[in-house]
């Protein structure tokens, strides 16, 4: 993996790439909220299945999916172990495992993974720069978006700079350890990075002023809302309405 590949981790052949990023963000938000308010396990399962279908449509490989889901899987395992321990009749001495709270743990795990799957499938596969632009078009705070876009732009450069400095240390016989002198060297590395970053930010500001910057960012990119986006949105809304009606039924 090239250092900058984190920004382009998937091929864009997935069917979901056909849809406008804004459509995907809004759908993700609506579906996530629905998953959060639903309590009936059958409906949750239905939502989870639709999330899985979206993941298949997004063109993400199983390996990438597992990598992204790893945090949630670990969370789920820990939940299964520890939640039953919070039952009132559980005692450390007997270590008697009560099954009373297992369905509760399963429900929480199901909710969390459904939300995660929606986020990964719909938002996680948007190219990061497009995501920034889509956020502006959705009237997100301009400063937030700008910070996000700067992060994308300079993350790689700082990482490269840090690797260079680290290699330079290793080249001169530095051995990573927890001894005081090694920790001091790491301190110097971080200090150097901060100084370089400050210098660079000054030069970037100069570059912006050179081109007439006066506090506003303009967007070159414009998205187009197609018929297929409208269809997708309608589908999502119908599904969500249906699920909520079923949830309200006693």
């Amino acid at each position: 993996m090239r250092p900058s590949d984190w920004a382009y981790p998937y091929d864009s052949s997935g069917l979901l790439q056909w849809f406008d990023p804004r459509t995907r963000i809004i759908s993700a938000v609506v579906l996530t909220l629905t998953a959060l308010i639903i309590e009936k396990p059958q409906l949750l399962l239905a939502l989870m299945i639709s999330a899985t279908v979206l993941i298949v449509l997004s063109g993400l490989s199983i390996r990438q999916l597992l990598y992204r889901m790893s945090a949630i899987i670990i969370f789920f395992v820990l939940l299964l172990i520890f939640l039953p321990m919070t039952a009132p009749d559980f005692t450390m001495r007997s270590l008697q495992y009560t099954t009373a709270l297992i369905p509760e743990a399963l429900r929480i795990g199901l909710k969390a993974s459904t939300v995660m799957l929606f986020a990964i499938g719909l938002v996680g596969t948007i190219e990061p720069v497009s995501l920034g632009h889509a956020m502006t078009h959705l009237r997100m705070p301009e400063k937030l978006v700008q910070m996000y876009l700067f992060t994308i732009r300079y993350f790689d450069i700082f990482r490269r700079e840090m690797q260079l400095l680290h290699t330079a240390m290793l080249a001169r016989g530095f051995r990573p350890s927890l001894r005081i002198c090694a920790i001091r060297s790491y301190g110097q590395l971080i200090g150097m990075l901060i100084i370089r970053s400050l210098d660079r930010s000054e030069r970037v500001l100069f570059a912006m002023k050179c081109r007439g910057y006066h506090g506003k960012f303009y967007l070159f990119h414009h998205f187009h809302f197609h018929r297929r986006d409208a269809v997708f949105m309608t589908l999502v809304m119908c599904a969500v309405t249906g699920i909520i009606i079923l949830e309200m039924k006693p």
Partner: protein, 212 residues
């Protein structure tokens, strides 16, 4: 007429030796001047002073016949004078090439359609057609340099200040950027160590080692 007159310039960074002690020179109309000097002789610093990013200890800077002192006057100067930075990564702060080239024209207050036209035209003039949607950090060093130049040229400046434009480029990219620069109509002040490059592009040299 002199486009730029620098008179009796003094400058030093905090806690270090003076960079300029009484530097004076001028850039006449339609002139292309090379700026030479050893490492640390202040070529980049001079460009930053000329654009108003650093304040000299003493001395005056005249652009287009009037002395420039305040930030708002320098902001006007920056509309007419384009600075190409030594490090393209410092200059290219937008995520895509299109955003990058459009940034200047948008700030000049042009309309969207005008900006789109300028972006297309500028990229085409540097043989960068189809680059508008490319991601800046995926470009090669040579491409980054050309995109930086496109971003500067999109503001249609009268004067170009070029800080080591061939630094760190391979022979082919160097050749390419030399060709593009040679075709441009602008007046230029070019800082470089590359003597043959300066010979091709400039009609006069200023050596900072001997002037200060």
């Amino acid at each position: 007429m002199n486009v730029l007159t620098v008179h009796d310039l003094y400058f030093h960074y905090r806690h270090s030796n003076p960079v300029f002690q009484g530097l004076s020179f001028e850039l006449k109309d339609n002139e292309r001047v090379g700026l030479t000097g050893s490492n640390g002789s202040g070529k980049s610093t001079l460009f930053q002073i000329l654009m108003g990013f650093r304040k000299p200890d003493r001395g005056t800077i005249n652009w287009y016949g009037s002395e420039i002192t305040t930030e708002s006057m320098f902001a006007e100067v920056r509309r007419k004078v384009g600075l190409l930075f030594q490090q393209p990564d410092d200059q290219l702060f937008c995520a895509t090439v299109g955003d990058e080239v459009a940034f200047g024209p948008f700030n000049l207050g042009l309309s969207r359609s005008e900006v789109l036209h300028i972006v297309e035209e500028t990229l085409a003039s540097l043989n960068l057609q189809g680059y508008a949607d490319r991601i800046t950090y995926h470009l090669s060093e040579g491409e980054k340099r050309l995109v930086s130049l496109a971003a500067v040229l999109a503001m249609k400046p009268d004067v170009l200040l070029l800080d080591e434009p061939t630094n760190g480029l391979d022979e082919r990219s160097k050749e390419l950027i030399t060709q593009h620069l040679a075709q441009l109509p602008q007046m230029m002040l070019i800082a470089s160590h590359d003597q043959s490059f300066l010979e091709k592009l400039t009609n006069r040299r200023i050596d900072l080692n001997h002037r200060t």
